[in-house]
């Protein structure tokens, strides 16, 4: 028998549409989790690996970069290549071209190459090899609020979700080792691979939306994704007063589909101002309208995750 450790709860913050305030909310939660009234040891994950911003407001002492090796890309050895062209018709990514300097040799465009290796098997001269690619770095850093696991995908690389899975896995193990009961994951926008990887194993999805047609449209898609992967979801409306009609539409949708609106945050300049200072909004101005609204959402989220707590 292995010893049974209590598994940390995982909260994933998503939105569908970008720029609705996922990271600002996640950072505010980081500050709240450290307040004496909650004292909830929490591990943080920035799962938006190609536009990672949580560290800009949690200001960690950044850990050593650790290399992330993703897939491989094809490379043609110009000495062995005879330019026969057998590789060209098998490439479905239009990634192989005659070299502009030497028409007897072919060349792989690394931007277009998908790493499928079809060309490797098609080459009669054994001139093509698959070369593993370092696609980014990941970090175990220390913030004033707790450990942060984050990563940096190199620009333009494949975001297959593997790097997201890796940082999440590291965070989960760290939470187990340090007996932290909560992992908060700041998720990526959209609904594709990195979002699916970020939702895997989550206990609750907090969907941050804004009252716009685009916010509503994309919220429906991300709620559908969470439902598909059987992750319970609640909704938070940010900048709620900017378009009241939009906010009503979100509420109607939530009511008809059975999702709880866990809170609303009005438009408040203290949020961008806090970001400029590199601070969570709660630390910048705990009495701002946004801070008070977020505290209410935080308490509602804890109630969802852990059940109503007795004091």
């Amino acid at each position: 028998m292995t010893d049974l450790k209590v598994r940390a709860k995982q909260l994933i913050i998503l939105s569908g549409k970008g720029g609705t305030g996922k990271t600002s909310l996640g950072a505010a939660f980081a500050h709240l989790s450290n307040q004496p009234e909650y004292g909830l040891k929490t591990v943080f994950v920035d799962a938006d690996v190609d536009a990672a911003n949580l560290s800009l407001v949690l200001l960690p002492e950044t850990g050593e970069p650790k290399a992330f090796w993703g897939g491989s890309l094809a490379e043609i050895d110009p000495v062995k290549c005879t330019g026969c062209g057998a590789c060209i018709p098998v490439c479905r990514y239009d990634a192989i071209f005659p070299d502009s300097q030497n028409s007897l040799v072919n060349w792989v465009d690394p931007v277009a190459c998908d790493g499928c290796a079809a060309c490797v098997y098609a080459c009669p001269k054994g001139a093509i090899t698959m070369v593993p690619q370092q696609e980014g770095n990941w970090y175990h850093s220390m913030t004033p609020y707790g450990a942060l696991f984050h990563a940096e995908l190199f620009p333009g690389r494949e975001n297959s979700g593997k790097l997201v899975t890796l940082v999440k896995q590291q965070a989960r193990l760290h939470a187990e080792d340090t007996l932290a009961p909560l992992v908060i994951i700041d998720g990526p926008p959209g609904i594709g691979c990195p979002v699916i990887s970020a939702c895997a194993g989550a206990d609750l999805g907090l969907v941050v939306t804004e009252p716009s047609l685009a916010g509503l449209h994309d919220m429906k898609r991300v709620l559908g994704t969470l439902q598909h992967f059987r992750v319970p979801a609640v909704i938070c409306i940010n900048k709620a007063d900017i378009f009241p009609e939009g906010a009503s539409q979100i509420k109607e949708y939530a009511l008809s589909e059975g999702f709880e609106i866990i809170g609303q945050v009005p438009f408040d300049e203290s949020i961008p101002q806090a970001m400029l200072q590199g601070l969570p909004v709660m630390a910048f101005n705990p009495d701002s309208i946004a801070s008070r609204a977020i505290k209410f959402i935080w308490e509602g989220t804890l109630a969802q995750l852990f059940g109503i707590r007795e004091h």
């Binding site: 939105s15 569908g16 549409k17 970008g18 720029g19 938006d48 190609d50 536009a51 990672a52 911003n53 800009l56 407001v57 897939g71 491989s72 098998v90 479905r92 990514y93 931007v111 277009a112 998908d114 499928c116 079809a118 098997y121 098609a122 698959m130 995908l153 190199f154 620009p155 333009g156 690389r157 494949e158 975001n159 979700g161 990526p188 926008p189 959209g190 609904i191 594709g192 990195p194 979002v195 804004e210 009252p211 716009s212 047609l213 685009a214 916010g215 449209h217 994309d218 898609r221 559908g224 994704t225 598909h228 900017i242 378009f243 939009g246 438009f267 300049e269 961008p272 970001m275 400029l276």
Partner: protein, 287 residues
């Protein structure tokens, strides 16, 4: 002229700028708006096209012909994406991992693999009332891969040489953004003057630089942040082609699905000026 609109950070106003730019150019000739943000496509909310044509976006996945298959395992060996597995005498296919590269088909010594279309989304085409040619891809919920849809979307459009084509890219700075930028003559990068905006702008500038695509910037929501984006762009000699101030009037109008010109008609001229600047930058680049 093909112009890709990208941003790094999400929610900076890519679609607002892309749709407004398309609207501003209709008097100049054929205009295409192509929504490459297939995970969260929003262009239709601003342009209200009549989406008449719909086709499925597919990945061609292997289907094993059992009577021919000897379970030699060659297909499993050549697949780089672990989309095939051998269990006893059976080859299993995992459609969501398959990239549709065809390597297993070509390498099967028994010719036991045929490819069947596995739908992962939709490709839609139509027109707007004012004559903008509209196309978009929509990734099916729970499907992981946006990139094949973007690739297929670009193949179904057939603009004439003189048309202006606007690719509205997804946020971020990964493979799907690269696919959206492929073939573009110019990248118009929309950012906001905040630390998040600047951080993610640097990521997208890294991509356009690697792809040798000339770029210019729209700074949106001027007034909510600081001067660091401007200082950075001045230092790197990257032109700022438009500044849009933050106002509640704009925020509310955009939330309701209005483009900039519908909210403030002076943006018609301003966006035409942006297009002229792009044209001269692209031709300058070529000469």
């Amino acid at each position: 002229m093909k112009i890709a609109i990208a941003s790094g950070k999400g929610g900076t106003g890519k679609t607002t700028i892309a749709a407004s730019l398309a609207r501003s150019l209709i008097s100049f000739g054929d205009v295409w708006y192509v929504d490459c943000d297939v995970e969260a496509p929003n262009g239709h909310l601003f342009l209200n096209p009549d989406l008449k044509q719909q086709t499925r976006a597919v990945v061609r996945i292997p289907q094993i012909e059992k009577e021919k298959c000897t379970a030699c395992g060659k297909c499993v060996e050549v697949c780089q994406f672990h989309a095939l597995a051998k269990v006893g005498k059976t080859i299993l296919v995992f459609p969501q991992l398959c990239h549709g590269c065809g390597s297993c088909t070509w390498n099967c010594p028994e010719n036991a693999i045929v490819e069947v279309p596995n739908p992962i989304g939709l490709l839609e085409r139509g027109r707007t009332d004012d004559g903008i040619e509209f196309a978009r891809g929509v990734l099916t919920i729970s499907e992981p891969m946006p990139t094949p849809i973007i690739r297929q979307l670009k193949k179904i459009i057939d603009p004439c040489e003189k048309a202006t084509v606007i690719f509205d890219s997804p946020p971020g700075a990964s493979c799907s953004v690269v696919e959206s930028l492929r073939g573009a003559d110019f990248a118009l990068l929309v950012t906001e003057p905040t630390p998040f905006g600047l951080h993610d702008l640097k990521q997208i500038l890294g991509i356009v630089d690697d792809m040798h695509i000339p770029a210019g910037v729209v700074v949106n929501r001027v007034g909510i942040g600081n001067e660091e984006v401007d200082a950075y762009l001045a230092d790197k000699n990257i032109p700022v082609l438009l500044r849009v101030p933050f106002s509640k009037e704009l925020a509310t109008g955009i939330a309701a699905g209005k483009n900039l010109i519908e909210i403030l008609p002076e943006y018609q001229q301003q966006l035409q000026n942006v297009f002229q600047k792009i044209t001269s930058l692209v031709h300058g680049e070529r000469s």
